[in-house]
């Protein structure tokens, strides 16, 4: 169930941003993507998640093992915390949400409408969603935005537990999570080179 990415090229807004990206993510490991803003971390994650097609290269993984969490958490303000979580659990064919509530200390808030949560609490709810899906490989885009220090620790624990249980995580983040098994991949060298000016072909660039 290793996630293998080979020679991947991705585009944002019709412009090639990254090319030649290759890595493997075996079970129990975490891979942290680094790089300046705009280099294409989000685009890379969305491509791996299958939300957009790659320009070139392949993403290989076992079917139904990936779960993506982006900047938005998909939380419905008028539903309670528990309702939000059980919905995603049901979509992924699971039903138990108590473990996820505990992991992010959401149990006391379970009956509160999600619209009444603070930004950090919402983010915790969004991350708790990862646990209820039971997917093995997490693809996380800036997961610690708007979390306080305790919540970051909570998140690091959850990731560590996930890795210990044989899961894997691909993260785009700038924060040190103190994960033992994390490898860092700097995306700087993979920045796509502009094509020749006269190369007036199918892609217009």
């Amino acid at each position: 169930m290793t996630l293998e990415v080979s020679d991947l090229a991705v585009a944002r807004g019709g412009v090639r941003v990254l090319e030649g990206v290759s890595f493997a993510l075996p079970p129990g490991r975490a891979l942290v993507l680094r790089g300046p803003n705009g280099i294409g971390k989000t685009t890379l994650l969305r491509t791996v998640a299958g939300l957009q097609p790659p320009l070139a290269g392949t993403v290989r993984s076992e079917p139904e093992t990936l779960i993506y969490a982006g900047h938005a958490d998909g939380i419905k303000a008028t539903l309670s915390v528990a309702e939000n979580l059980s919905f995603w659990a049901q979509v992924f064919g699971k039903s138990d949400i108590s473990q996820a509530l505990d992991a992010f200390a959401l149990a006391p808030l379970a009956d509160r409408p999600a619209g009444m949560l603070s930004a950090g609490q919402k983010r915790r709810l969004g991350l708790a969603r990862l646990l209820v899906t039971g997917r093995r490989v997490w693809l996380l885009d800036e997961p610690t935005v708007s979390l306080d220090r305790d919540a970051v620790a909570m998140f690091a624990d959850a990731v560590a537990a996930h890795l210990a249980g044989g899961g894997a995580a691909l993260l785009a983040t700038h924060i040190e999570l103190g994960l033992d098994d994390a490898t860092v991949l700097d995306l700087g060298p993979f920045r796509a080179r502009p094509a020749e000016l006269d190369d007036f072909d199918e892609a217009f660039l």
Binding site: V15, E202, L205
Partner: protein
């Protein structure tokens, strides 16, 4: 016949180079045919014994109506080519053709209304064919609006292609629905295999010339507009690249 050779023109650069060579000839020919056909039709045809001089409107009405429908068909084909083979020129040709099709629809509608006034005593009747053209006009309008509303070129090409496919099915459905809804005043098709029954030769020959003129006019214009779209597309790509640094 080697059809694969045809696909090389899907390369934008090759397309521009090739069409640049034939465009002047086509434009001249289009102008000649249109002027000749319209002058022939306007000055040198007799009056119809029932319709009087209004029969001269046929040289605008029929070719434009014909083009209005066929341009949509051409857009359908190029949309399919884009979806299947993903040649950008194909998608851009559909984009370039849409406004021409809309103008043709407007001409068909306006000349139809002006013709209908003395013949049927009304500018507008909810006759199946008139109604169908109004619906076609709405389809063109929606298609063009969708193209211009989306910033990302590839997304716009994909979405409009699918809209064109779905729209074609619904346009066909509307055609039958409208027929069922109201059997109209319109005469039968002016063009059919047994044309002798509908249009006499004196009217037919200039009509053929005018139709050829309209077709060539469309071809010339769509080539020009496709070139423009290709250049605009390349320009946007270059600007985007510059912004990326």
């Amino acid at each position: 016949m080697n059809f694969n050779a045809l696909w090389q023109y899907a390369n934008p650069k090759k397309f521009i180079e090739t069409t640049d060579r034939v465009l002047p000839a086509i434009s001249v020919l289009a102008g000649l045919c249109m002027v000749a056909g319209l002058i022939w039709g306007f000055f040198f045809t007799p009056e119809d014994y029932r319709q009087g001089s209004t029969v001269k409107i046929i040289y605008l009405h029929v070719p434009s109506a014909l083009m209005a429908i066929n341009i949509w068909l051409m857009m359908l084909v190029t949309s399919l080519v884009w979806i299947v083979r993903r040649h950008h020129v194909s998608a851009l040709a559909a984009r370039a053709a849409a406004p021409i099709g809309m103008v043709m629809t407007v001409i068909a509608l306006v000349t139809g209304a002006i013709w209908g006034q003395p013949m049927w005593g009304t500018w507008w009747a909810w006759d199946p064919r008139l109604t169908s053209f109004l619906i076609l006009f709405l389809f063109y309008l929606g298609y063009i609006a969708l193209w211009s509303a989306i910033e990302n070129d590839d997304t716009a090409a994909d979405l409009t292609a699918i809209l064109c496919l779905v729209g074609s099915v619904f346009a066909l459905l509307s055609r039958y629905a409208v027929n069922f809804w109201n059997q109209g005043l319109h005469q039968g098709a002016s063009l059919s295999l047994d044309r002798e029954e509908n249009v006499a030769d004196v009217f037919w020959y200039p009509l053929v010339v005018t139709m050829a003129g309209f077709v060539l006019f469309f071809v010339a214009l769509v080539i020009l507009r496709t070139q423009t779209e290709i250049r605009a597309r390349r320009m946007r790509a270059l600007l985007a690249r510059e912004r990326m640094g």
